[in-house]
Amino acid sequence: MRNWWKFLGIGLLLFASVAGFWVPLAPALVHVSPDRIAPGPVELTITGYNTRFGPGALVSLKNADQTICAKSVVARDAGHVTARFEIPAGMKENLTDVAVDDLIYTGALFTEELGSGIESSICPEPYPSPTGFTFPNRSILYESIRNLHFHVPMWFTMIALMGISVFQSIKVLGSNSLDQDLTAEMAVRIGLVFCVLGLVTGALWARATWGAFWTNDVKLNGAAVTGLIYVAYLVLRGSVQDAHKRARLSAIYNIFAFILLVLFLFVVPRLNAIDSLHPGNGGNSGFNDLDLDSRLRMIFYPAVLGWILLGCWMYDLRVRAARLANALDR
């Protein structure tokens, strides 16, 4: 069974893709209307996502140390609840957060006309609602958090293939082997397929979350430049006639290209001076800060391994076809 890794790759992809779509998002509050309130009677309509609002829903408004409970609550359906409040005039701070049962929407509200005293009421404690296996429900992202399992593995696969390529290139410098040079070239070619897929899927995701297909984010530009560096590697190969000269020259170029890849994708976006929209870069925290992130990881790591194995399979096929073509040319 020397093909076990191909089965493993497809199995992991199957698992990650099915789970990536099947696992529901955690319930969350997504909308509060109106979002500006003033002292006096207030009626708020709160929209939830994947929530199960019932007749006994507990609704309250909060800030750092004050809580105002709802006078009456009407759950219109599982995703909508309407609550009436009597906001006291003596609030010291803005009421910013809305809570329904154990769900909290921070920064949902702005309160006008503050007083100087503290008025707060004691609300009944909600029971923690049982949740199954869910993905985190983050504002802006919502369901598109699933793209973590599809878009990000493209980049991991590209980096793995470029790593294989630079490894072969280093061997070329010692051995002058044309076959190793061929494997280095084919790894770059397959890596570029994943680079293009990463860029296109990233553009779609960016449109849905950041509002534009292309933003001037360091990681985007770094990824695009990295792709161009590897296109230049292929152009360089095409411009040298002598096979041994081409092998050595492109091997040296490839080593520099990989160093630039590491710089553009890992070092530059993490510099503190640079802001990045990507999680885990610049001043932006990654998915790591989510308490539920272990659930994402349980799908994400198999997805990454599955895609890398698929990329290796594609690379294997490409190398074998190229070797056959060389043998037939001779």
Binding site: E143, T201, L204, A208, A325
Partner: protein, 68 residues
């Protein structure tokens, strides 16, 4: 291949025109529904990309078969 590409460009230009006429197709497809559509679009792009690669690989191997 060339006819296929020009056909693709034609379709894309129509799609671009449709977008400028009504602000909605992209807005409604990518923003609605808790943004599940963007995940579907991403997966579609990946499958399409792998499909195009397979197609080219198929042609490459056909060429080898003809040579041998």
């Amino acid at each position: 291949m060339r006819t296929f590409l020009s056909f693709l460009l034609l379709i894309l230009s129509f799609a671009a025109r449709a977008e400028s006429a009504a602000p909605s197709w992209l807005e409604s497809t990518l923003y609605g529904n808790g943004k599940i559509n963007v995940v579907v679009a991403v997966v579609a792009v990946i499958i399409l990309g792998i499909g195009i690669w397979l197609w080219r690989m198929d042609r490459r191997i056909s060429k080898l078969e003809r040579k041998s």
